[in-house]
Structures are given as C-alpha cells and as structure tokens.
C-alpha cells in the first residue's frame, strides 16, 4: 500500500504540472466570475445563477480533467518506458494502478473543492450568505469523480488513450441515462431485450445518484441517508472497477 501512496503522490505532481490543469482552473474562475456578471440581468435570481453555474461548472471541469488526463496517464508511462523502472521496484502492477487512480482522483477532487470554495466565498461577500449545505453536493460530486476516475483507469488498463476517452465519455452519458434506459426497455420490448438492458442497467454507474445540485441550490439540505448511500455505492463501484482493472493490468504485456 505504501507503494500505491508513493505512486499517487507522484501522479499528483505529474498532473499538476500539466498546462491543462491551469487552463481548467482559470476557466473555472472565469466561469464563476461570469455568472456573477449575469446576475444583474437574472431578475432577482442572481444568487441562484451563481450557485448553479459554480456547482455545475466545477463538476464538469473536474470530469473533463479526469477523462482527458486519465486516459493518457498509463499510456504515457508505457510510451516513455518509465513503467519498467517502476516495475523493477517491489511494487505490484495493481498497486501501481491504484496509485494512479488515487492521484488523479485527489487532483480532480481538489479542483472541484477549490471551485466550490470560490462559490461559497462569492456568495458570502456579495449576498451575505454562506450556504454550507453546498458541501453536501460537493461530497457527492467528489464520490462521482471517484467513480468516473475508476471508469477511466479501468478502460486505460487495456486500451488506447483515444478509445479510453471515448468509452469513458460514453459511460458517463449512459450513466446519466441509466434509469431511462431501464424504463424504455420495460415498455413492451421483447424479454431478451429487457433482460439484456437490465444487465446493462446494473453494470452502468448510476451517476444521477450523486446529483443533488438542483436540491441544494434551493436551500434543501442533502439527507444523511442519501450521502451515506451515495458514498457506499460509489466506493463499492470504484472497488469493483479497480479490481477488474488490476486483474487485466497484471496480465497485460508491455511492448
């Protein structure tokens, strides 16, 4: 496990050095500032606009960060052949993968936490109100990012960066449609299609479970059961994907 932590620390350093992180962070700041510019024309709904744009923007940017950087992380190690130097040390491949996952998750979580802090500061200064219940949304968004990072790491364990990014984005989109998918499959389709769709439904990450933005923005706190359930589901899903990714990566041949 110490090896995984060392890899995680190294991954954080590596990710932070990327120019894209800076661009995304600046874009996040600009987004929050722009939402504040929009608030005078929102007819008294400026506070809602700032909160909505801040929460959604942070989640979207962190998701982009996880997918775009994550799909390249393993490939780079293989391409530069730095992985051989790491593998020569007493560290298992699955530990290496876990370290990569933790590093990427921490970085994307830091981005989303930073942007939420900016939204909170802006609301405190401009509207004299600090809606701490946004932290409920932040918690679930961080878990969601963990699931997305695990999806990216899973695909990157056996395929190319381009395909990893494509599969990850497709999983994210389908993950938001999971409930609709099941609904349509049960509306008069053949039993074979219904069963297949049901299987896909259980395989997909149910990302809507982590979406409480529409609730907190209207001042409704996230119930502790929802937080606990979301965190437990997310952790189990992450573990499942990382175990599968580890198993695949252990058997992968490096060329």
């Amino acid at each position: 496990m110490t090896g995984a932590f060392a890899i995680a620390q190294n991954t954080i350093r590596e990710v932070v050095r990327q120019r894209m992180v800076l661009v995304l962070a600046l874009f996040g700041v600009a987004l929050v500032a722009a939402s504040q510019v929009l608030s005078p024309i929102a007819l008294g709904e400026g506070r809602k606009v700032v909160t909505d744009f801040g929460l959604a923007g942070s989640s979207l940017l962190a998701t982009l960060l996880a997918v775009m950087l994550g799909s390249n992380l393993l490939h780079k190690e293989l391409e530069r052949r730095t992985i051989y130097a790491v593998m020569a040390k007493p560290i298992r491949r699955s530990e290496f993968l876990l370290g990569k996952f933790m590093g990427l998750w921490v970085t994307s979580a830091a981005l989303v936490a930073g942007m939420t802090a900016m939204v909170l500061a802006l609301l405190s200064i401009v509207y004299r109100d600090t809606p701490w219940l946004l932290l409920g949304s932040l918690t679930l968004t961080v878990v969601e990012l963990g699931v997305i990072t695990a999806v990216v790491v899973f695909f990157s364990s056996f395929t190319t960066p381009a395909l990893t990014a494509f599969f990850a984005m497709a999983t994210i989109v389908a993950g938001h449609f999971a409930d609709d998918l099941l609904y349509f499959a049960t509306q008069g389709a053949s039993p074979w299609i219904t069963r297949t769709t049901e299987a896909v439904y259980w395989l997909l990450p149910h990302l809507e479970l982590f979406n409480v933005r529409g609730q907190v923005v209207h001042g409704i706190a996230v119930a502790p059961e929802r937080l606990a359930f979301g965190a437990a589901y997310g952790l189990l899903y992450m573990i499942a994907l990382l175990v599968a990714a580890g198993a695949i990566f252990e058997r992968r041949e490096f060329r």
Partner: protein, 224 residues
C-alpha cells in the same frame, strides 16, 4: 504567406483582419434590419423541456437558468417593441420542467400570462403545476390566491389559497392578514389595491411596473 512576415506584414494582416471583421459586422447588421428588428422569435424553436432535461446530463438547473435568462430577454425585448408575449408560457414551461423548484419562474410566468396576455387561466395552470411540484411553497399558494383575486375575480378561490398559504411554513405575517381580509371583504377595491401594493413592494422590476400601472388604473376608476 511570405507577405505576412515582418512588422509591415503584421500591420497589413491586422488591417485586413479589421476590414473583414467590419464587413461581417455590417452584414449581420443589414440582416437584422431586413428582419425588421423582430425580437427573439427563435424561442419558437425551443424544444420541449422534457427533451432538454434528458440532454442536460445532470446539469438541468444550469439549463433552466439559461432558459430563464433567455425568457427575461424575450420579455424585455417585446415590452420595448410589440408587447406580444406569445412564447412566454412555452419557455416558462421549459424552465420549470428543467428545474421544478424554480418558484420565481412559475410566479413570473403566471403573472405575465395573466396580466400581459390576459390569460389568467393559463397562469393559474402554471401555478397549479408549481404547487404540485412544491406543495410546501407558501409563495405559490399566495400568488395563486392573488391571480384569483385580481385576474379571475374568483374571491372564494382567492380566500382558499390565501388561507392555504397562511398555513404553510415560512410565510410572512402579511399572508395571514390577506387571508383574513379576503374572507371579509371579497371583491373590495381596497383589497385589490393592497394586493397590488404588495407586488409593487416585493415583485421584480417588471412586476413592479405592472403593479404601478394597475394601481393607476384602479385610482382612475375610483370615482366611477
């Protein structure tokens, strides 16, 4: 491309770029003039809220905010031009479909439908939908009572909704007063003036304008 090298080349490129940009701007301006300055007709092509909700991928409230800003722009532009607000019901339907807790969208949409389009029934339908989605909102119940009082002149229904609002959590003190007054003074002009004054004091800037207009109208008919 060799022409673009050097300081002179850079200047020429900037000038050429400025000319092309100005040309594009002039073209856009002439297109707008040809359209006769018709405001914001593109709202006709706004898709149903259900589909936008599906496409928003978990970012529905931001989509609702964008639709809300667009709706305000649409209302503002038509106020300055033709005072026609045909699409406001449609776009407020989208906003509230995307964010069913967006109380202000129900209130403002219903207000415009009732006061500007003279379709209080459609306004009440929008508020009813809002109350179904937010049964604990005293504001929606109060505004429904308001529309019944000044729009459909159904004083019994107004009293019922004011009373309902006065029983919901978070209501301000004046809601109880209106509930009591409506039961005693149904159809009273003074009561209508009080209600409009409440909108003048607490509504958004457009609602305040309408409230001032209605107050003037009520004052003008006082002697009749």
């Amino acid at each position: 491309m060799t022409l673009l090298r050097g300081r002179g080349g850079l200047f020429a490129a900037l000038v050429a770029s400025g000319i092309f940009l100005a040309g594009a701007g002039m073209l856009q301006r002439s297109y707008r003039t040809q359209q006769g300055g018709r405001p914001a007709d593109e709202l006709l092509y706004y898709p149903s809220g259900i589909w936008v909700r599906q496409a928003a991928l978990g970012y529905e409230t931001v989509a609702a905010d964008i639709a809300w800003l667009r709706a305000i722009q649409y209302y503002g532009e038509h106020r300055l031009n033709d005072q026609r607000y045909d699409m406001i019901g449609h776009v407020m339907g989208i906003v509230t479909e995307l964010d069913p807790r967006f109380t202000e969208a129900y209130v403002f949409g219903a207000f415009v439908l009732a006061q500007e389009l003279r379709q209080p029934q459609r306004g009440l339908e929008l508020l009813e939908r809002g109350m179904r989605a937010n049964p604990e909102s005293w504001r929606l119940a109060f505004e429904t009572g308001f529309l019944h009082y000044v729009g459909t002149k159904n004083y019994q229904a107004a009293a019922r909704y004011f009373t309902r609002a006065s029983r919901l959590p978070g209501h301000p003190e004046y809601v109880e007063r209106f509930a009591a007054f409506t039961n005693q003074r149904a159809g009273n002009r003074g009561m209508a003036i009080l209600l409009w004054k409440r909108i003048e004091a607490s509504g958004n800037k457009y609602m305040q304008d309408v409230a001032r207009r209605e107050l003037k109208r009520l004052e003008a008919t006082e002697g009749i």
